[in-house]
Symmetry: D3
Subunit: 121 residues, 6 copies
């Protein structure tokens, strides 16, 4: 495995690596730049990994972005030690700021990813 | 002081109360609903106050929203114990997700609020 | 049926209740807060129900949000007495303000919901 | 006065004409296309003028757009017979859908325009 | 074929006409206004057709809009002579400005359309 | 002058360097990452510099972003050889896709920057 993908695995586990590899196959240049930025961003040490994933998820919920990057970062958030309950709470907290419709979309998208990870109640 | 404004003061200090009072003067119904939601949202206990303010700031940066609510929540973030460096780091972390132009706008807006709080270097 | 779901049924009919129940099953806290806000918002009496649904649909079209909340509020708009033609006209009127691509997405999403309601041509 | 500006005056009064003329001076082609579209959109008769302005304001609040077009359409809304209270209520109704920060920005921007029109309490 | 659809065919080929006809079937008024605007916009001669499609794609990527209009304009871009590599490069260039998640969504959506056009490597 | 600022000067002239230096003074880490990305993005050779600035401006217009990055990239667009008329035409072309209100805001912001550059008629 390439050096940079190791930093992706550290961040988001095997699922994260698989998502990143899909991108690198279709458009290697973008995959490479994304991987390089990941390394640069997540290896800083002012915020911890949980805080970083909280920020990323909040931005994605706010953008209404529930596709590839959301799947990647829900996996990364679980990998960083955030629980299913904490991830739902991030969405809950976003609702009055992003509006409820975006929060509701995020709940459904997150739920599907929890099921994939064997985490549905 | 009304009961609910006390919860605003607990969250965002005297500056927060002053911003909320401005809103309540112009449009009391919206100010009241906002205050009521604040109370409901911030008194939950799954995420801590720092994490909650991190989420709120990330959403505002993502929306490109650098006005009244941004000022309120930079003050609330400082009040919750986040340092100037940590707030800048939240903006830094947002950049690859929101795009750099929104992050740069947030830096300038945050800087002005730091200066108001006597926090510029 | 719980008291609050009755106010949802009054607003958006049986389909609306079913959409809200789905949410409450996956994430009860958010479903409850959404229901509570619905009650608070739609029982005011400065704007009538048609005007309220016009606003809600315009916001969703503008956000490019054509999923769960859009389905809920198309049903609510029909329930409030707006016709299929009036709903399409709302989308038409949005186009120069939201841009045409978002309006076109809304047309396709609305069309599917009209078909579900037996309202296609 | 040109034919098309008359339709702008009918829609948004003298203030509306003045805002449109400013645009036409700086960039005539865009001003002309905007005026032509206004005519085409607002002279349809499925929704009435109040409903049309409600849609336009909801879109602008949702976009966080509180500048030239917002000023134009607050004036147009007043001209169509919507009261200051109804305009504030449109903003109130948007809040749970757009998020509160955008609604609060809209309140402040609307307030300034009300003052210009001698409508502050 | 109607006169206006000819200008759509010139812009986006047979696939473009087919997408526009779908819209005109569901909601003729919006289809007609969109076609009329297309004619007005694309027949100006300050920017060339490639530059125009670059602008349109950049806006759609920025909106996170990867549906009907994106399909239409990827086809139009290919029709204007932009290569698959250049279209991917447009997405690449957007990434630091729109944020990477929107760029990644655009890559996947574009890829599907390339495959439909027999353009996957 | 640092090596990287030279690449900024090549891209956006002395005004661009001055805008970038402002950012680097307030928040050096973000300024440095932005500069590094600029270098990486603009030195690719699939699209030419004019096409790259067209993309960047279209994204900013679509975001409603008319502040620091807009000023930087209007200057960069002029530096790349785009004329005032072509820049206005980019905004014109965006209008039906972004909605007219964002295009109108962009016209006013661009106009101010043209005046600063001695380019108003």
């Amino acid at each position: 495995m390439k050096e940079e993908l190791k930093s992706v695995e550290k961040l988001a586990g095997k699922k994260g690596v698989s998502i990143m590899k899909d991108l690198q196959e279709i458009f290697p240049d973008l995959g490479e730049l994304a991987t390089k930025l990941h390394k640069e961003i997540y290896e800083r040490n002012i915020l911890d990994l949980k805080q970083q994933e909280i920020i990323t998820l909040a931005v994605l919920i706010s953008q209404g972005n529930t596709e590839s990057a959301f799947r990647f970062h829900i996996n990364a958030a679980l990998h960083a030690g955030l629980s299913k309950e904490e991830i739902l709470e991030i969405i809950f907290h976003c609702a009055p700021y992003t509006g409820f419709p975006k929060a509701i979309n995020a709940v459904y998208a997150a739920y599907d990813i929890f099921v994939e990870n064997g985490l549905s109640s």
